[in-house]
Symmetry: C2
Amino acid sequence: MQKLWSLPCPPRIFMAASAVGKEEYRGPLGEKFDYHDDTDRFGGDTWEHAEEGLAYKTLTLALNKAHLLPESLDLLLAGDLQNQCVATSTGLLPFGAPFLGLYGACSTAGLGLLVAALALAATDAVRTAAVVTTSHNCAAERQFRTPLEYGAQRTPTAQWTATAGGAFLLARDRGRVALPALMAGRVVDSGLSDAANMGAAMAPAAADSLLCYFAQSGDSPAAYDAVVTGDLGREGSAMLSYLLEGQGLFLGEKHLDCGKLLYDFNRQDVHAGGSGCGCSAAVLAAHFLPLLESGAMRNILFIATGALMSPSSLQQGGRVLGIAPAVRLSHVEESDG
Amino acid sequence: MQKLWSLPCPPRIFMAASAVGKEEYRGPLGEKFDYHDDTDRFGGDTWEHAEEGLAYKTLTLALNKAHLLPESLDLLLAGDLQNQCVATSTGLLPFGAPFLGLYGACSTAGLGLLVAALALAATDAVRTAAVVTTSHNCAAERQFRTPLEYGAQRTPTAQWTATAGGAFLLARDRGRVALPALMAGRVVDSGLSDAANMGAAMAPAAADSLLCYFAQSGDSPAAYDAVVTGDLGREGSAMLSYLLEGQGLFLGEKHLDCGKLLYDFNRQDVHAGGSGCGCSAAVLAAHFLPLLESGAMRNILFIATGALMSPSSLQQGGRVLGIAPAVRLSHVEESDG
């Protein structure tokens, strides 16, 4: 049983920003994102450089919205899907901030919020922290599957890596969204080795974290306005319901999935839905955080979902492992900031 | 200027373990490692699987030495050099512990100790944390350069990725080595793009952290028994001295480098010295920690060094970025544990 960690003085998110590509802007949440680039290039000359530009743009937006200079960042936590996480380490180089590199595959936004909250709670020397995660469809296709130019066919369970970035600014004493409870998630063997069915492969990890979370917290899902998974998509969301209901946990309409919210399945050919480090980050930043800030939502449970695998590990007979860090996000009535 | 973070109740390392391959066992520290495998295979049928076996073995050794069951781990932090960090996520799957994936290239041991210390300081719910990092020469050669079978020539500045793993167990109230001060390190552009000269590419990041550390702490190097860098090797260590002395900071014989200590340059053809996530972890675990535990050393400054790049990023004209998280390690007179 995983333990739930509660923080006596919960750190808060006081600003967030998002930037997306063309397809994400065309989706149902399009107008909510702070920025979009219809070329998907973000100033880069390759898709990999485009993702670096996306990371830079996303954090720049967040700092500008908060009227902060890069020098005010005591800590920057970031990760992406490119090998050796070069999109964020390179894209965020100009900020010159103390840097912690993270790898949680598509769950990195949750992992980043969790580690940022720990850092803010641990030492007075960290007063302002930023979390940035990105993904780029074309960079991910080239690295994990085939370059777009090959025109490879996709299976119905395949997901669409979002071209998206999300940035979050956290502090101890300002902002209207607190992080009072955290759960790291543990690595769960899905038993699956199909790289075109990541949703199903991540569902057992999400189920593990959810079952542990509700058992440890004593809460019922009714206490939450939404239980938001990162990027299970249609296939993974159905699998999650199946796994949870077998254990007597019914989420019903409380369950929302960022990978399903990001696109319009009737108009957009994204198969099982969105995925990627940037998917949950951008949807959380642009859609859920404003609802929590305004008080339209009081509590959500955010469970980021990641598939831990590499093309090599699957070629060598490995399975897709899942992980699902969980963060409770709660509306704070009064901001002291 | 990076900030130094001090922790009022510094977490401690209470156990460590190391496992190495054939070449590392043949080196000057060979007898100090807890385990070695002369086949370099650690039970795996591929080099990538061998590294998974190495990760599993290393943490198993640490838990066994501490007479702990895996269930006592409240948190497991890990990282490696394989794409998507699959060696540690897969190799450590059987422990079933709450997991934070990290990516700091060869600096991951320092990054892991730093984040583990933050977690222990932040919440009473984390009482025991483990940090595990590994690298495997043959897996790294295949992924970053060429498969061994190609027999590629190495340049004199090239380093030898160590086949090594280190595991550290941390707690708040037991152990004789405390972590009273931490510095995250920031991403530094080396200006170099030569993947066969990682030492020089990491030296500017190490210099940045060292200059900030001594300026912020007010200490002089004389207050430390050793200033231990991760894996600068001969080339990078010379570069570090050059950079620091230009700024008036003289380390002299206080400076030791794990990548230089791991091998005997007269007997072993490792060119500029050792490198890899496991290099600094294994040398810290097997060589420096026992000296700190016994009181033979009272204080060391451990600066792990990482080169943030990927083969793709260099192919696309990118430069090797460096990062160097720093952790002060201090002897604790009395263990309360």
